[in-house]
Amino acid sequence: MRLRRATRLLFAALGLAGLLTTAACGPGAGSTPDSSDQSWGAVQQRANAQGVVRWYSVAPPDQNDRLVKAFNEKYPRIRVDVTRGASELPTRVNAELQSGAEGADVFMYASTQWYADHRDALLPVDSPAGAAWPADQWAATGSAPVTAVQPFGMIVWNTEAFPQGFQTWQDLLRPDVRGKLGMRSVVNNVNAGLFDFLTRTQGEGYLRQLATQNPKFYTSNVTLVQAVASGEISVGESATPSAIKDLQSKGAPLAYSVKDVYAIPYSTAVLKKTHRPDAARVFLDFLMSKEGQEALNGDGYSGSVLPGVQGTLDTTGMAVLDESKFPPDVIQHWDAQFRSIFGTVG
């Protein structure tokens, strides 16, 4: 009798547990919204379910880390896989677009032209931060916002060699700078833009005067800044605040000026080929928000086109690269000028 009752109770308990489980797992109970639901809440839910976003970025590692950390504080369930690169990134992304290979979901690069050229491959921005974005700050309107204004042409110096520092570009022509100046060597659209900026603002003969300072050439800003920190050279005409801040935090004797700066725009977009569109949209939305802009560009790392973002550099005085003015033939012209002025030893 007791056994029969215990058995009945056991089956009842099992049946109740089964009902509760079915209710919890059944449709409409915490499930991911269908892709036809494009409300922002649904997008966020799907993004959490997708769980990862792959971000190709040309930004310095410090800035990438700051953004990812801030993003994960708001979206802890979405992992961000960062691939940092430089000029090879567009080639890789183009190959992925052509082959449909798994790769970038979100692509940030130091260009506006690439995004204009690949407008059809970009997912339109449809998010709260996108709606508030300035109308004239898009590399491809509606798809690729300009998400950072990164200083490139700026003066950085070794404070042990030059305790008095540098105020203007003309200070690079001082006699004590001779043999101690470092410059970027690669003449691409960015560097051509810098030469053009210096020629326009400092005069036609400025580059030739700079050449008389017997400058040394470096292939990247990072190596140039490290050379300044080490004392191999003592002043550089190109740098990023990120590279300088990283070395300063380790005790390197560096200082820099953000007056009269030449900058390059970083644009970002979600690629249509992405397998995780919602996670990618959420990531870009965060990047375009004030929080994201402060994470990426704050603490003096770079400038933001969004007004009122705390800690970003003032972009109003910056000369920003306009890629449309540097097509291949103009770049070739500046390349020839560079070799003529600064020479190729033969």
């Binding site: 080639t91 050229d117 292939t219 070395l247 020479g343 033969g346």
Partner: protein, 579 residues
């Protein structure tokens, strides 16, 4: 397969006799494995080349026309040739001297010092160059700082400026001397001592014996080594890129690399830079074949040779000193500089011990990306070596037995097996990117793409090292086995393979090292989920910090050293000495 090598094609069987169609068909059937091999190798090496050259020649050879109109091209070509020939001279002389020095040591010393001249190859090239920068940067290199501290040199710069043409040639030559050493030392060991002893018994002094006997018999070795080193020197990238740019020195590869930094990339012009190097490679291959002629004239070891030489004390001392100085300057000092910087918060150029810290190691090595790249590097490198070794042996057999194959086959094999060497690695990387991103081989972004790329670029090394071993072995033992009734497969596995074991082990070790360090192809094939250590190292150089570069360099050096030691153990504890 090798039985078909012994049988002449029917068309040659009787001069003047016109072969019948059935006889021709029988001949074709016997040659078909070699035809398949030749077609497969040609397809593999042309995969990254044809799309590239197609780009250069498209639109009425627009790429080539742009190349000829490029400003400063003359100076760039002059620099390329000067540095190529200079590095060749330095590398050949140094490598040969090192090989003779090691060969001249007593067996007991040789056991421990035989592979020390290849230590520079164990250090990744980016790190090796950066190590030289830390040592010899004119303003704040550690060696220059010490030299100026002696009072013998004044001023705030020098006396050594690693960024000049002369020192770039020296650096590249030192780096390439290790390749030359391997070729020449292996050749010396396989040569045996009979002929030298016979010359000495007949009254020839050591110098006369060296000049009239040893050096001529080493001609195939010198030709092979010279061709390899010249192509490597002409396609040298890391040294000129890091050391040449500071003073405005350009070579073909650095100008090509600069093109690839633009967007949109001028692929036609970038591909056109590879055209002259391909032409030089083909010319070198033709010249090489004319200089050696029939490789079987250079007899390898016949009867068993016992090395009964007893080097004198002076010879031993001089040999050990030369090898020791080379290893100190080329490997130990750069490694010490890298280790010092890896323990520094940043590169300061100062030899101060107070700021040393270990924090760079966990900061760098705790990165999941670095751990993944270590696993990927090991996996794809080992797989590629396992695949390319037998492939290289087959190609080497085909080239060695050229008189027994249809005439075009060995020529095509020889050219195809050497072509990947002629192309700068960065250009090959772009070629693979094109070829593997679209149908039919849509494997971009996978480990398979790395394995395919690595196998292709290692074919020249796998072939040359094993061909050098086969040539040195000669045909006597092979023919003796065949005459005694051994079939081709039995002869291969019981005679050729055991005798070639040390050569195979050496080539496996070298290829593993080269692949762990391979950068040009890897940079273009890597993806978010598949990356290798060499690219991770460059990421740090380009966008990180010198201490992090140094940490990864130390780790890569340790991995490659372990790989080389393992391969040497497999090849026998005296793999470099024993036949």
């Amino acid at each position: 397969m090798t039985s078909q090598i012994l049988e002449r094609p029917p068309a040659d069987a009787a001069p003047g006799h016109r072969a019948s169609i059935p006889a021709l068909a029988r001949g074709a059937r016997r040659q078909w494995p070699w035809i398949l091999l030749t077609a497969g190798v040609a397809l593999l090496v042309l995969l990254p080349l044809v799309p590239l050259q197609g780009r250069a020649l498209s639109n009425g050879a627009d790429g080539l026309r742009q190349l000829t109109a490029l400003p400063g091209l003359g100076a760039v070509v002059r620099n390329t040739i000067l540095m190529g020939l200079g590095a060749l001279a330095v590398g050949m002389v140094l490598g040969t001297v090192l090989a003779f020095c090691v060969y001249a040591m007593p067996p007991r010393l040789r056991r421990y010092l035989a592979f020390t001249p290849v230590l520079p190859m164990v250090i990744p090239s980016v790190a090796h160059v950066v190590g030289f920068v830390f040592l010899f940067s004119p303003e704040n290199g550690y060696v220059n700082t010490l030299l100026r501290g002696t009072g013998l040199f004044s001023g705030g710069s020098g006396p050594i400026n690693v960024y000049t043409s002369f020192w770039i040639i020296v650096y590249t030559g030192v780096h390439l001397a290790a390749f030359v050493f391997l070729f020449v030392y292996s050749g010396l060991r396989n040569l045996g001592t009979e002929y030298e002893l016979a010359a000495r018994v007949n009254g020839a002094g050591s110098i006369r014996s060296l000049v009239t006997i040893t050096l001529p018999l080493l001609r195939p070795t010198f030709v092979y080594a010279g061709a390899v080193v010249l192509l490597l020197a002409l396609g040298q990238f890391t040294g000129p890129l890091i050391l040449g740019r500071r003073e405005g020195l350009d070579v073909l590869t650095t100008r090509m690399y600069e093109l690839t930094l633009d967007y949109p990339v001028n692929y036609s012009l970038a591909a056109a830079f590879g055209t002259p190097l391909i032409v030089v490679a083909v010319l070198l291959i033709v010249a090489q074949r004319k200089m050696i002629g029939n490789v079987n004239r250079f007899v390898g070891q016949g009867a068993a040779t016992v090395d009964a030489r007893v080097p004198g004390r002076v010879t031993t001392f001089v040999s050990v000193t030369i090898v020791g100085v080379f290893v100190l300057v080329s490997a130990i000092m750069p490694l010490l500089a890298l280790a010092f910087v890896s323990l520094s918060p940043f590169w300061s150029g100062k030899l101060s011990l107070s700021a040393l810290t270990f924090e760079n190691y966990p900061d760098t090595l705790n990165s999941p990306a670095i751990v993944d790249s270590v696993v990927t590097s090991l996996t794809v490198s080992v797989l590629a070596v396992v695949i390319v070794l037998p492939l290289g042996m087959l190609i080497a057999l085909g080239i060695q037995n050229r008189d027994r194959l249809w005439r075009p086959l060995p020529t095509i094999l020889d050219v195809a097996a050497n072509l990947p060497l002629s192309i700068p690695a960065a250009l090959v990387g772009f070629g693979f990117l094109f070829a593997l991103s679209g149908p039919p081989l849509q494997i971009y972004g996978t480990s398979a793409s790395f394995v395919l790329g690595y196998v292709t670029i290692m074919i020249p090394y796998a072939t040359r090292y094993q061909l050098a071993t086969l040539v040195a072995l000669g045909r006597q033992t092979f023919d003796a086995s065949r005459v005694s009734g051994g079939g081709p497969v039995r002869t291969f596995f019981r005679i050729i393979l055991p005798l070639s074991r040390s050569g195979i082990a050496s080539s496996a070790a070298i290829m593993f090292v080269l692949l762990i360090h391979e950068f040009g192809v890897s940079l273009l094939l890597r993806s978010p989920t598949v990356n290798v250590l060499s690219v991770a190292l460059f990421d740090q150089y380009d966008g990180g910090s010198y201490p992090q570069v140094a940490v990864i360099a130390i780790v890569m050096t340790a991995i490659t050293a372990a790989g080389v030691a393992a391969a040497m153990l497999f090849g026998g504890s005296r793999a470099l000495e024993r036949l």
